[in-house]
Amino acid sequence: MLLSYLKIAWKVLLRRKFFTAISLFGISFTLMIMLVVYAMFDYVAGPHRPELKADRLLFVSRMQLVYREGGTSNSNLGYDFLERHLRTLKTPEKVSLSLGNFSTVTAYVGDQTLKLDRKFTDGEFWQVLDFDYVAGRPYNAREVRDAAHVAVLNETTARRYFGNVAAAVGRPVELDAVRYQVVGVVRDVSISRINTYAEAWLPITLSTDNLRDPSYLGRYQAIVLARQAADVPLVQQEYQRVIDHLPLPDPKQYKQIRSYAHTLLGTLTARFNMEGGPEGGAKVFTRAALVLGLLFLLLPALNLVNINVSRTLERASEIGVRKAFGATGGRLVGQFLVENIFLTLLGGILGLGLAAGALALLNSSHFIPYATYALNERVFGAALVIVLFFGILSGAYPAYKMSKLHPVKALKGDAGS
């Protein structure tokens, strides 16, 4: 039965090439746009290097002090606070402390100025995260403790500064007139990996900040690696207990401290929504994204519905014959849905191709520094879900109309209006 449906579907598509083209255009471009957006989202919040073990990682990057008179004070955390309360957590496998953001340093090569984004990290940073080493090695805990003047550069910076990557290791690089010895070169990290991105990584002990400052608020963050994905809630709960027992810095001024161990997506959404609680507003974000996606789908789907309804009336006599020979309404609905899903699947394949092209274009434009967007199995999965959803959304109403056609009228070609 399915095969014969597909045969008919194929013939219908070929019979009216113009309408097939219109439909395919709509479907494939809709899908392309959705896939590009999803691939970009996945690139920001999915498991990619260096946060390859995203399912085991937690980020403590912000603290919020709530004033008694209303209002809040938000910031990254103090190094000393993290050292005392995060390093001592029992449940995680490893904890890494680093600068919460990045700062700019200047290097001069000949008469050229290189502006580099610099991040201070500890030695564990390289163990918790999975960087891709092109040459050399990361700096270790001892070098960090001794405040050794060492640096890890990204590939592009090494190439621009030294001419080629292999020659960089062991040579000095001068940043803001301070010399560091390059110990390793890693593959470029995109700026959209906001927690780990930099162009030059330096030992945290070289920071000019006073690391012994006991303030809760500061410029630092902790990246926590759980032993396994299932331990993530345990770590979150343990950190929550720490926060709950934390004395207020000035009880006259403040009434509450908020800080959470967020997942990768949570840490991103929490930047915009500090009220989001332990999951950082990730659920709200997901819901909002789904609604927006649905709204975007609506117009192309409606368009396809309109074309489909018109074509259904055009095929009235075929439907009349089928009904006359005993096809039930349900069967006709099935047939039409199969046809429409077949069409949207074709559009889906085209859409994947278009999305791959669009992403390649985006990568080569360097519009977002160091971004290398690509399709992966999650994007394929998303494509399949969207296509099926789209196929059913745009096929259901025309199919219903088709099944309601009166066979006698349909045979006379008087489909009515």
């Binding site: 113009f18 309408f19 219109i22 255009f25 709509g26 471009f29 809709t30 746009i33 700019t104 340093v105 200047t106 001069y108 008469d111 050229q112 100025t113 502006k115 803001d176 007139a177 000019t208 900040d209 006073n210 975007f296 609506l298 117009l299 192309p300 409606l302 368009n303 396809l304 519905v305 309109n306 074309i307 309804v309 018109s310 074509r311 009336l313 055009e314 519009f367 109403y397 070609g413 489909a415 209006s417």
Partner: protein, 401 residues
């Protein structure tokens, strides 16, 4: 004829319901893009009020130096920079520099009680006596900050823009010498010493609004310690930047570092950020509209094929080919009008409710543009099908059944 079309389309509203819905949504899309476009374009047309070429911003990082020592170091650094060849003028400022993402805003008030007047949200900038020369701000009346302002017993001076003056004193009297209040230090009295032209540090795409400049005295030891704006001679480049950076480090005994960027770079980087979303929105909307256009065209084409008999009868009854194509065109425009009315009802809520605090004129212009665009889209889609309808041979069409 018009009434005939309305009757016909009204009676077909059930069959055309989805089409009307599609037109409605296309209108919403056009309206959204139109509003964004008109808003940005209007902003872009307004004068910037300053010259960004050959101006550099220097961010100073004093590292772990105690605050008490910083002022003295800053004075040494300023003196050094001012004598460096290639540097024309240097001014201290706060971090609300042109094309930065930092802003300081609030209401400005004047008078008290019943006679108090208050501006809408306005931008607060601050600068030293040299800022006007660095940025090329136009002075309309009064004077810029100078040595007279250093007398500590005076009430702090302030320079306001023409727009602020117009907002605070709508009766046209001069604001010079008047007392105003603004921002965090709401109780502090400030005296207007000058009226300047516009100043939109937010860049070309920011909304033009009232603004004022607060005064940073050369003796100020609490604010504006970390940011400098420097006008350099045309044609200077990386060599001077490196020299300035070295000078700053050496003058501070190796404790300070600096980050030098040109305002030209900052402007491009901000434009990129601000234009990305509208550009993406634009591309997506163009796609949606092309999609709608193709769909509408397809539906109309199929429609004509199904209505051959009816159109044949009309020909037989004496309608000319032009009348038939006019009718098809008229029908789709009528249908568009139905969707449009729905869309306008929704769009009208934006200026009525003052959504996003944007001027009603922007929304009204966008509504007009969207309406014209929609009619053009519909007429474009109907053109070929209407020619097709005009070409129907009545004898053939009537024999088909």
């Amino acid at each position: 004829m018009l009434r005939h079309l309305f009757t016909l389309m009204w009676n077909r509203k059930r069959a055309n319901g989805l089409l009307i819905l599609e037109v409605f949504m296309a209108f919403v899309v056009l309206f959204a893009v139109g509003s964004t476009g008109v808003y940005l374009w209007r902003n872009y047309q307004a004068p910037l009020g300053f010259a960004y070429e050959n101006v550099w911003q220097i961010n100073l990082n004093s590292g772990s130096q105690p605050r008490a020592e910083q002022v003295a170091t800053l004075q040494r650094v300023l003196a050094k920079l001012r004598t460096t060849p290639g540097v024309e003028v240097v001014s201290r400022t706060e971090d609300t520099t042109p094309f930065s993402y930092n802003g300081n805003s609030g209401n400005i008030t004047t008078g008290t009680g019943d006679t108090q007047r208050r501006t809408e949200e306005a931008d607060f900038y601050s600068g030293g006596p040299e800022l006007r020369e660095v940025m090329g701000v136009r002075l309309v009346a009064g004077r810029w900050f100078d040595r007279r302002d250093e007398t500590p017993t005076r009430r702090p001076p302030v320079v306001i823009t023409e727009a602020t003056q117009a907002e605070l004193f709508p009766d046209g009297q001069s604001a010079l010498g008047k007392v105003i209040h603004y921002g965090f230090h709401e109780n502090q009295e400030r005296v207007v010493v000058g009226i300047s032209g516009p100043y939109r540090a937010g860049g070309e795409l920011s909304e033009p609004r009232s603004a004022l400049f607060g005064y940073i005295s050369p003796q100020d030891t609490t604010t504006a310690l970390n940011t400098l704006l420097v006008r350099v001679q045309p044609g200077t480049g990386a060599a001077l930047a490196k020299r300035l950076s070295d000078d700053i480090r050496l003058t501070s005994g190796g404790r300070w570092s600096s980050d030098i960027t040109t305002l030209r770079e900052q402007r491009l980087s901000k434009l990129k950020v601000l234009l990305t979303l509208p550009a993406v929105l634009g591309v997506v909307c163009v796609f949606l509209l092309v999609n709608v256009a193709l769909g509408l065209f397809g539906v109309l084409w199929l429609n004509i094929n199904q209505r051959r008999a009816e159109l044949g009868v009309r020909r037989a009854m004496g309608a000319t080919g032009a009348a038939i194509s006019g009718q098809v065109l008229g029908e789709i425009l009528t249908l568009t009008t139905f969707g449009l009315v729905l869309g306008l009802l929704v769009a009208a809520q934006f200026p009525l409710l003052g959504v996003f605090n944007i001027k009603a004129g922007v929304y009204l212009t966008a509504m007009l543009l969207a309406t014209l665009g929609l009619y053009a889209l519909a007429a474009g889609c109907a053109f070929y099908p209407s020619r097709l309808a005009a070409g129907i041979q009545p004898a053939v069409a009537l024999r088909e059944e």
